[in-house]
Subunit: 310 residues, 2 copies
């Protein structure tokens, strides 16, 4: 009798839950509340050696570099920024639902191409993937349990979306919106970080493992995504005057402390990040159907203004 | 002995294949060639009753409507366009990596809101999904074998990306880049097609089954995706002067035949479409790693200028 009563109670409880779900889906703590309640220790400062500031007339774009995934490219990008390589160069290409790309408009012309600054290499190895061991605890890798249609294992490490294949023992940065890569021509080792692109559309995951990914835009991606699309092949601009010029690109370490952006990034190994993912899985409120899952490329790691010292 | 020789030969053949793949991946016929060789019968004309032309100063946006998936909304959108409802209204909201939305800036103010034209309804039912039977052979549904992380069955019907769940017996349009939906407020039946949005970022599939999707932009989506992002909450513009105005929106059937865009759309039930999907799965050329798969939202159905009559 007791068991039977218990079962009846359970059944009623489940029925009630089910009815409530039909009216409004099970809701996790909403993202705004998760962020408001997040402990200070779940946020980190920008790393001066791995942050680029790109100044456009319209505003500033901030890029976090990923030395764990592309050490040679990141070292070269640091040298290029230190040498003022991109200052006065331009955005060359905006292809709708794909990428915005910048570099030297005369890069293909040896006579006119801007010379590389001291310390920068013209030639680098391809860095399309790393040994899977490199995304272990040291990198604060947190696995994403949700299904991904491109890779058998995914997650986040140091703020970046990561995919991996235990059967090949390789891990790589996924081409999500806002990810930055190093353009190359036909040979795999033809990128040196001088020409960079950012994803501005649906994640082109087919590029994964085909090109070196070097980082992620953490602020100002809209300045690169809202540019007029180029009308020549692959979104290149037809005429030089259509290009947006780049005022300068600096490594954060080279910027006076007082001038550095007061910005923090959420740690992807934090509980807050897990709660934000849950807030996307179980949305409540306006949503009447719970997605019940998140997409590796569907959840951008948030930033916030550095709060005043207590 | 014979078996053993055969096995050896097979092993050698496999090893050779494997080495060739490492150098350059198995390539399907490239997309450009597939399109060039496509038979005229794989293309279709625009349907005058299900095509909207939206004129902006920057150019024309063409939208195909999906009456099979949202019959009440599409009927209302036809009536709204016929009554000139959107003429002189505006783009109200551009949220980066999400949506561009348009409608009546005074829509929330009953005293100032533009009245609905004759034949348009203020209230419609929610049309978030349809019975799965509706995407059968009649709709030319072709299944996509590739894994999707959001739905157990996906494919294409009448040019649209479709997801379905046989366990619930429902099918719906997927929120891919370029898909157009009808904005709603908190109640599920609060959309009437007056306020429309288009996806301009990574597919927000979490919206699937939560809102009525009415069609897809087949041309000119970049005119809506490259607009400056609004800086108020949800990408709304702060000031009226930041909005892009809409010159007019017409149903193709109401446009003089001589003025209609000479455009064709590839049939998604065609062999050419299957070949294009294969060209994305097995890319060759610049690619050194074959993705081996496509993404429901990663392959847009192409259009082309109507070829001259032979």
């Amino acid at each position: 009798m007791k068991t039977s009563n218990l079962l009846t109670a359970l059944t009623l409880a489940l029925a009630a839950t089910s009815a409530a779900q039909a009216a409004a889906p099970r809701a996790a703590k909403p993202a705004a509340e998760v962020l408001k309640d997040s402990p200070a220790s779940d946020w980190r400062a920008l790393d001066p050696d791995n942050t680029l500031l790109m100044d456009l007339t319209a505003g500033q774009v901030i890029i976090e570099l990923a030395p764990r995934f592309a050490p040679a490219h990141v070292a070269n990008i640091r040298a290029l920024a230190r040498g003022g390589y991109w200052d006065g160069l331009a955005i060359l290409r905006v292809q709708d639902n794909f990428v915005t790309q910048w570099g030297d408009p005369d890069g293909e012309d040896a006579a006119k191409a801007r010379p590389l600054p001291a310390g920068a290499s013209a030639k680098l190895p391809a860095e399309f993937s790393v040994p899977i061991e490199r995304i272990g605890k040291q990198a604060g890798f947190t696995r994403l349990a949700d299904l991904d249609s491109w890779a058998s294992r995914t997650g986040f490490a140091e703020g970046f979306p990561v995919a991996a294949d235990p059967s090949t023992g390789r891990a790589w940065l996924a081409h999500c919106y806002g990810m930055v890569g190093a353009g190359r021509s036909d040979t795999v080792d033809s990128s040196n970080g001088t020409e960079l692109y950012v994803v501005i559309g649906h994640a082109p995951r087919g590029l994964d493992l085909n090109i070196t990914v070097v980082g992620r835009v953490i602020k100002g991606v809209e300045l690169l995504a809202a540019l007029p699309r180029g009308t020549a092949a692959m979104g290149f601009y037809d005429k030089p005057e259509q290009r947006t010029s780049i005022q300068r690109v600096r490594l954060l370490a080279d910027v006076a402390v007082a001038e550095r952006p007061a910005l923090q990034v959420l740690k992807t190994e934090s509980k807050t990040w897990q709660q934000l993912l849950d807030a996307r899985r179980y949305r409540g409120g306006w949503y009447v159907h719970n997605p019940g899952r998140v997409d590796l490329c569907g959840a951008a790691v948030p930033t916030r203004p550095t709060p005043p010292s207590p």
